[in-house]
């Protein structure tokens, strides 16, 4: 790469760093406070295309590129941009693939390599942007469009999201397996990239978007239902205001009643014996005398023993014991320099602690170590994904090893 380009890139990062406060304020407020920027810096930002001025009288604003970079990096839920412009990207993929094929055909390996690299980058960017789009949609669904307050706004946001899903699905249909396979031809590198990587990602994304779509519809239904209920309440209150002596008609007189109006009243009520009622005394006594202790399903009460304060260590013992076991584990991993996971250690030493309790204790003890001791050890989580799209991970085991 051109060394000047590298230098210019670094300069750009420095420029961002120097103006980070003003830029972040601009991100939060929608416009930059020019009083905080000196004219030279503002000029530099403008030239780099990081900020722009929509027209002569308006204040400076963050460029869309910088804004989307921040939204992505900060996982900002206001992020509503969905890039559905797959068509253009597909065309550039096809063009690059043709360049690559031609260069290969002519035996220009250096050029072919460069094209392939470019193509790889474009493909990964495309899949990343697809994943980003679905992620953005999910995060909006998961907090039920919490960034807008009113139900009507939620309904509008939902409709926007549905429109975006539809556009995304339409553009994904351009990336069909056949067209990608055709573009790749029988060249192994291209097939790996376009068929194996891209087509699989597209397939996954399409499936996920179908789920997104149905969730959006369900959510929209719920919002509308809530809005309907709110209007019902308001309307009824208004109605009662206008007609203060309003009473609903008695609809139970029809022969065919909907279940809604056919709720039978209680025919048994909670009952309890009134032992303070003298008239009942004889009757209760005779009932009590007939009671026989039931033998089945009865637990023998445990023999009680006298509790004395000296025995308190007995209760504290198990807690101390697990701490000691964890210490032994840490010491053994320090001594042996071996990587032994906590659960393996538990098994090998035939300790009886429940696995979860053991893991929590190891984790807790590791973090409770003084800093100077902890830096000798590293703690590694063995994780696996839970479910399909939730992004939750489950820690199945941990390993403490010497760094």
């Amino acid at each position: 790469m051109n060394p000047n380009l590298l230098k210019a890139g670094k300069r750009l990062f420095k420029l961002l760093d120097r103006n980070s406060e003003a830029l972040m304020e601009g991100y939060a407020n929608g416009q930059l406070d020019e009083a905080e920027l000196d004219a030279k810096q503002a000029q530099a930002l403008l030239q780099a295309g990081l900020v722009f001025r929509p027209d002569a009288d308006s204040p400076l604003m963050l460029s869309s590129n910088l804004r989307s970079l921040l939204e992505e990096a900060l996982s900002d839920i206001r992020n509503r941009e969905i890039d559905a412009n797959v068509g253009t990207r597909l065309n550039s993929l096809k063009t690059l693939a043709s360049h690559y094929k031609e260069a290969r055909h002519q035996g220009d390996l250096a050029a072919a390599d460069a094209y392939l690299q470019d193509l790889t980058q474009h493909t990964y960017q495309l899949t990343e942007s697809l994943r980003h789009s679905t992620r953005a949609l999910w995060s909006r669904i998961n907090n039920e469009f919490g960034y807008v307050a009113s139900l009507s706004a939620k309904i509008r946001e939902n409709q926007l999201a549905q429109q975006q899903v539809k556009e995304l699905l339409d553009s994904l249909s351009l990336l069909s397996f056949e067209s990608l396979s055709q573009t790749a031809g029988d060249i192994r590198e291209l097939r790996r990239l376009l068929v194996l990587h891209l087509a699989v990602a597209v397939e996954e994304c399409t499936q996920e978007l179908a789920v997104v779509q149905s969730r959006l519809l369900a959510l929209l239904g719920r919002f509308r239902e809530l809005r309907g209920k709110a209007r019902l309440l308001k309307g009824f209150a208004l109605h009662c205001e206008r007609q203060p002596d309003y009473q609903p008609k008695d609809w139970t007189l029809q022969s065919q009643l909907p279940d809604l109006l056919n709720q039978s009243p209680a025919c048994i009520r909670p009952a309890a014996v009134d032992i303070r009622h003298q008239d009942h005394e004889q009757q209760l006594l005779s009932l009590a005398s007939k009671l026989k202790p039931r033998r089945h399903n009865q637990h023998e009460p445990e023999a009680s023993s006298e509790l004395s304060l000296e025995a308190s260590e007995e209760f504290a013992l198990s807690e101390q014991q697990i701490k000691r076991d964890v210490e032994d584990y840490l010491v053994s991993s320090f001594d042996s320099l071996q990587q032994l996971s906590a659960l393996d250690y538990l098994e090998q030493n035939e300790l009886t602690w429940p696995a979860e309790v053991w893991l929590y204790q190891v984790w807790g003890s590791y973090h409770a170590l003084p800093d100077e001791q902890r830096q000798y050890f590293s703690l590694e989580h063995h994780e696996e994904d839970y479910g399909q799209f939730t992004g939750n991970r489950i820690v199945t085991d941990i390993t403490v090893a010497v760094r």
Partner: protein
């Protein structure tokens, strides 16, 4: 409850006591009734009492209904309907008040929590809401004689729990959860709205539009 009582018996008892069973009020009983076979058992047991299992709000809530409606049954249902009809106005006003105090435009639904303390501090700080609460609490359904917001709110919640519209999951905390009986109430309102052709939703929208044009 006796330790020997089966889940079947427990559900049967709750139904015969006239309770509404939903996922909030009694999750175990609700999932018990989720199975077709269990519903058949219950229906079989209710049949001799001229009763059957009924549900409303798309299966969100179960209760006990009469199987065959004779004159006696009609009379009972009629007096029951008239009672609940007198509750509608106070309940609707209360729900609007709670909604307004929470600053939300979505009405309370099954599963929504309501924190008495938060509600109380908002109402105490807002004279209009204080006035509204004083009016609502005096309805016969709630029957509060207290002059303080605290006393009025506690009485209102006590009655709401007694009528099964809310439960209090933890007796040590003042957090109440709405049950699906509230959704039953909405469905009843909708039924009356449609049967009497009141166009309630339209009225509400007209009032809203009027407000907007005034602004």
């Amino acid at each position: 409850m006796s330790a020997a009582m089966t889940e079947n018996g427990r559900v049967l008892e709750a139904l015969l006591q006239g309770q509404f069973i939903c996922a909030v009020s009694d999750e175990d009983a609700f999932s018990y009734l989720g199975l077709e076979a269990n519903r058949a058992t219950i229906n079989h047991q209710l049949a001799p009492l001229n009763r059957r299992l009924a549900s409303a709000c798309d299966g969100e809530v179960y209760f006990c209904a009469y199987e065959v409606l004779g004159d006696d049954e009609h009379r009972v249902l009629s007096s029951q309907f008239q009672e609940i009809a007198t509750h509608l106005h106070p309940l609707v006003e209360w729900l609007l008040l709670a909604q307004e105090a929470q600053g939300s435009d979505a009405p309370l639904s099954a599963g929504d929590p309501l924190r008495l303390n938060e509600l109380q501090s908002v109402i105490e700080d807002t004279p209009a809401l204080r006035e509204q609460l004083a009016k609502v609490a005096q309805y016969r359904l709630f029957g509060s004689t207290s002059n303080s917001v605290d006393g009025q709110l506690k009485q209102v919640f006590k009655r709401l729990v007694e009528h099964g519209y809310f439960i209090r999951p933890n007796p040590e905390r003042l957090i109440y959860t709405a049950t699906a009986k509230l959704d039953y109430l909405y469905e009843l309102l909708r039924f009356i709205d449609e049967a009497e052709d009141l166009a309630l939703e339209q009225h509400a929208m007209d009032a809203l539009n009027q407000q907007e044009t005034l602004l």
